[in-house]
């Protein structure tokens, strides 16, 4: 086992997948010689050559479309878009072809590809570099959407995504890229896409988060446990679509209270979908309204004020207290 940060864990997953299957290839801007702007594809071009580690022209639509074409041809491309804000350039290809080709071709041409892209705030970046638009992709039939929260599950989810017979949008929380290290197993140990991780069992309230929001959530939990005597259950969603409804429902049926945390805008966000599923499946077990701690329905602010926009431990604790106080 190696101690890796998320960048290293993703790089290892790509490396291992490319070594195991020569259909796996990488395409994106600066993914070759440069190793990717975040170094996720570092050294792959030396190992696998420029046929399989493809430095692409600066055109996100072309990158994604070329990857879709390669997937139709039978390869297993992993496309990288440098920032999720730039995936909008490829929106039409994701919606029109990546998501639809299996169905359009009546399963003759399944699209086994991964679209990797860093998302989220917290790195003091310029405009279009901090958005969280996972709800777009979750709203698009035909796509799977996953978001890891740490090195180990990033490695496992990327393996699962590359092996998946259907297209996966793989959102990488760039604020976590180099935030901490974890032991990552030498051999691939894929997580099943569609399964959430109950990272802390508890009795009083269910906290649901994913991606970069797991860190402030766990920070809040530490405080809630130590300073306030609260016993929260914490779920790391991991898979945005398909969503692990069973785990969420089971937890909330037990605790009766729930707070959901994500950094994307609130309106039609992932929390709204979770609440709808709780309404359908756990209505009689709820003892308090489910609260959302999310980004606001505004454009992501310039970075001098981003700390006030993003959910943090303080805002999560406030929401938890309010939910627990409800009678």
């Amino acid at each position: 086992m190696a101690q890796l940060n998320m960048v290293g864990a993703l790089n290892k997953a790509l490396d291992d997948a490319m070594a195991a299957d020569d259909r796996v290839c990488v395409i994106g801007q600066d993914v070759g010689v440069d190793g990717g702007v975040f170094r996720v594809t570092k050294d792959l071009i030396e190992k696998y050559g420029e046929d399989r580690v493809i430095d692409a022209p600066l055109a996100e639509c072309g990158i994604v479309a070329s990857a879709i074409g390669m997937a139709i041809y039978g390869l297993r491309p992993v496309a990288e878009v440098q920032f999720s804000g730039f995936t909008m350039q490829a929106f039409d290809q994701i919606e029109q072809n990546m998501a639809r080709f299996r169905n359009r071709s009546r399963s003759r041409f399944p699209i086994s590809m991964v679209l990797r892209t860093p998302y989220g705030g917290g790195i003091r970046a310029v405009e279009h570099h901090s958005e969280s638009r996972e709800a777009y992709w979750a709203h698009t039939p035909g796509l799977k959407v996953v978001i890891p929260s740490g090195p180990r599950n990033a490695n496992a989810l990327l393996h699962a995504s590359i092996n998946d017979p259907d297209p996966v949008v793989f959102y990488e929380p760039k604020a976590v890229y180099r935030a901490f290290r974890e032991e990552v197993p030498d051999k691939p140990d894929p997580i099943e896409i569609g399964k959430a991780d109950v990272v802390r069992a508890g009795a009083d309230i269910t906290l649901i988060a994913y991606g970069a929001m797991m860190r402030p959530t766990l920070e809040a939990v530490e405080d809630l446990v130590e300073m306030h005597g609260v016993d929260p259950e914490v779920i790391d969603l991991l898979s945005i679509w398909p969503m692990d409804t069973a785990s969420i429902v089971e937890s909330v049926c037990k605790t009766g209270r729930c707070v959901i945390i994500h950094e994307g805008p609130r309106n039609c966000g992932i929390a709204a979908e979770i609440i709808a599923r709780l309404n359908e499946n756990a209505f009689e077990h709820l003892v308090a309204p489910v609260k959302r701690v999310t980004g606001y329905d505004i454009h992501f602010p310039f970075f001098q004020v981003e700390e006030h926009y993003l959910p943090d431990a303080e805002s999560i604790i406030a929401a938890v207290k309010e939910t627990l106080a409800y009678e």
């Binding site: 290839c25 046929d51 399989r52 493809i54 692409a56 022209p57 055109a59 639509c61 072309g62 479309a65 070329s66 990857a67 879709i68 074409g69 390669m70 997937a71 139709i72 041809y73 039978g74 390869l75 039409d92 290809q93 029109q96 072809n97 299996r102 169905n103 359009r104 071709s105 009546r106 399963s107 003759r108 041409f109 399944p110 039939p141 035909g142 799977k144 017979p165 259907d166 569609g194 679509w241 398909p242 969503m243 409804t245 069973a246």
Partner: protein, 361 residues
Amino acid sequence: MGKPPIDLGEVENLQILDADGRADEAFAPQLADDELLKIHRAMVLTRKLDLRMLAMQRQGEMGTFAPGLGQEATQIGQIQPLGATDWFVPSYRSFGAQLWRGWTIEGLMLLWAGFFEGFEVPPGVNDLPFSIVVGSHVPLASGIAMGIKQRREDAVVVTNFGDGAISQGAVNEAFNFAAVYKAPVVFVVENNGYAISMPTDKQAATPDLARRGPGFGVPAIRVDGNDVLAMIVATNEAVTRARAGEGPTLIEAVTYRMSLHTTADDPKVYRTDDEVDTWKPKDPITRFEKYLLAKGLLDEGDDERIAEECEQEVLDGRERFRKRAIAKPREIFDCMFEQLPPSLQQQKAEYLARLDRKGVE
């Protein structure tokens, strides 16, 4: 004379058959008599299907579709040089080429009549079901070609699109990617004069669309798209270049959309009958028939006999279509994913229960 029709970085015009069907033999493709007759029949069959589909649409038996009347030579010429292991990535106005590749008449009818089975690619055929969003399929062709190159396999891709698609960013990105990676793809822009109501000279400021090629490093040629021999020669050369690792080629096929954009369109709003009439003498089938008559491959009356045979083939196809034109509402979830996740299984069960309540099979 004897000069290759495609010159790197230049745009030339290629015509082999003149309006009277006289061939410039220096450039004419070396094709067996049987193949020439097969090409002729394919064009006639394409037209018969087109006209029959229009009649069916007007009678309520067919959905909205995009007729290709007048573009038969462009269609057959761009596909004849391909082999079975090659790929074809068509636009939605591609009856003729699809028939040549092995799509069935009933399959195409099913497709346009709104049955999803129509999009099932026939076994052994390396064609994509088309995308309705104009130009969105073209970068997929580059991607397939990049895959072919990566695997060092001996195959090429032909993709077609219209003059309207030339304005789409995705198409221009496709040119660039194919050129940078020298991917084995042939781009055929069927310049049929109109993108619905927009004439080509309002679509692009360049006098010919082939000029887009050299700017991307894609050699290009402008071809009389109503001349099937010229289309074959140009495509053949482009395919040969692609197979030799020399990368993509852009072929501009200059033709004319004699019919409607789609069956929902009324061309009288934006063009005159006089304009349409100027293209009638350039009819691709009549011109090729003159050539075959002069060559002694057709006798007087053969054209009518072949037309009747093709008409019958279309009617037979329509019978098969009618037998298969049974909607399958129970299958709409089945090709979304290899395995349906629980939430979709639940939605499918909910949907099937709804069909049960309504008594729908």
